[in-house]
Subunit: 214 residues, 4 copies
């Protein structure tokens, strides 16, 4: 197989993954319900009041959008290091996409039940989904990076090990978020949000100066 | 990082952004409601009459389609100038996409309430969304263009400054549209439509001759 | 602007257009309604009978899928000839995409009303949408091909004129389909289907041998 | 037509196909219903119980996601061998996409009726859809590979024949699954799942070592 065919193969996995990430992130808007005129009359609310009462939906929209975006940025970053693919790699990536494409569902469950008796279950489903994603991310990266199996030849060992260390935190941290759901819903959801910020910021710590250097 | 890897990185941000723009623009059709047979009977309308009474939905479809299209053309144009990415840039772009992907919701709210007591709130939400988009566009461009941080080396200073000036109008103009919503709904929506035309036309003022020149 | 930047620009219009075409074509499945268990009981039907009674939906799915596919193949073919873009071209292409993305709506209207009093209106809306698409295709092609404005230098005049002639048929033929809707619904829908086949076949008349030649 | 134009043409068919595959796979999540608060009260269930009772939906989500993913990996693999396109090829590929984009519907039907009297019909529709996909895959590959019509010059005959043999199994096996639906629903669905694993594994049998070799 020529070097050219390799580039083409990676390109198509990225295109497919980008498709799933961008569709999952855009479908989130379909969850937001437009209050109907009849609805407002029967509940005696103005449109503004009705929209304000939907705050858990808007919070869910922003949180899930941010989380999927951070996942995409990290996926994107991995693929700047990965140069080759294999069938097993494609399926591990598919497992990750399965969980990413699922995110709109736990988000909708959380938004619908944040204020009722189901809130602990909803938060557990929410954190549990991210726990699964963290596991799948680690599987994908461990498989691709072991013995530089699918990485470019020019990658520095320190870069590889830095990513391995950063990803290792995910499963444990999201497992804690999952368990916290049964104790305190705000603590569980807050930890999920903090982890999104952590994965966003630890990537940008090295910032534009490094990434943009030619 | 080689020049080649840079091109690849920009390509994937564009692919992801194109995904979000094209999905958001295509999801708009899901808002259009097909009048059911039972519905027509109970309201004593023919299919043609029922469809005509849905005019605010069709107006909303066309307006939002046009606005997202203009945003995409402008995004596309920015990326002919931007050659590098950074983590912060990816998140600023993500913030913009968050607002773009949200557009179907205020559009649906406006279509549903254009003719009732909620029209001012609906128009304010609509113009407010575009105000947020204008702010995010400016953040993205200022970040990318300051000191030519992420631009190609061959860009002319005059081109860069022309874009900066053109984008500066956005936040102020959409803020006016937002405030107008509380005074006159048609004036607010009309200003939004006029601004879409402005951003469409000011880009094409230089027209095919310039853009297509080899 | 370098030749390289030109290729990139066309690539992104194609990516965006492909996004809209592929999303519109895939969203069609969301129209298909799954008969619920309660529904079957109340209507005294087996699942098989209920699915068979939904035949206009399945017909609509296949017809619209085929039509959007043919449109995409033709769009794809145009872009093998078009090498440059301009702002006006982007907006003309956007007008075409507006109509393509709209197709799921008239399809759903036709499927819902094929067997009731609204069938003529539904067929007129259906054929009318394709009439608009034919007009927009002609605008796009005329603009791009006049004086070879946006075409590659190596294009043969005969190829260009063949396309111009083939496209010229569209608006007239779909206008006839639109008018036929008020006389005979099957004739109108049948003409639309025949035209899809025509635009599919006249493209492939020259077939694999020609297209695949290196 | 230059070699360059050829690459571009294949690239766009792949982009369009990737779009349809990734959208169909991501739309599956829209089928999953969020139990509402009112719903839980009226049925006297906790959120956790209500979610557990939806197990056929989750099973359907995972099965269809896996099946579409396997189809995509196989489609992807075919296109590493196919270098040229033709109009007929585009339409055969379109026929395949028609069936792939349809998958969410039989999945939803199966999930909705797995536990009631419609289960045999639902399983037959499910297996029947995969039967159609298997037929279309064979048509596409036979057309492209006959006399190496659209394949690269460097393809080994043994590779081509291995694919032909592997695909030949599909139609017969899915026909058996279709017929089994009228005898035993679990046997039919189980065979579909087993076939997805077969098509996944027989591709990866040669595994990373071979595929990743430069």
């Amino acid at each position: 197989m020529t070097a050219d065919a390799e580039v083409k193969e990676t390109a198509r996995v990225e295109a497919f993954s980008d498709g799933v990430f961008s569709i999952a992130i855009t479908l989130l808007v379909l969850e937001l319900r437009v209050p109907s005129a009849g609805d407002l009359t029967s509940r005696g609310l103005s449109l503004g009041e009705a929209l304000l009462r939907q705050w858990p939906s808007f919070l869910g929209y922003v949180t899930s959008f941010a989380t999927i975006l951070v996942m995409w940025v990290n996926h994107h970053r991995l693929f700047t290091l990965i140069r080759r693919t294999s069938s097993l790699f494609l399926y591990l990536n598919g497992l990750l996409l399965l969980a990413v494409a699922f995110v709109p569902f736990p988000t909708a469950v959380l938004a619908a039940h944040l204020e009722d008796a189901g809130s602990r279950t909803a938060a557990a489903v929410y954190a549990g989904t991210f726990f699964a994603i963290a596991i799948f991310y680690n599987l994908l990266w461990r498989y691709a990076s072991a013995d530089n199996r699918l990485l470019g030849r020019s990658i520095r060992e320190s870069d590889r090990d830095r990513i391995t260390r950063r990803y290792r935190i995910g499963p444990t941290a999201y497992l804690i978020a999952f368990l916290l759901a049964f104790v305190s819903v705000p603590a569980s959801v807050g930890l999920c949000a903090a982890l999104a910020l952590y994965f966003a910021s630890s990537g940008s710590r090295h910032g534009p100066e490094e990434d943009a250097r030619p």
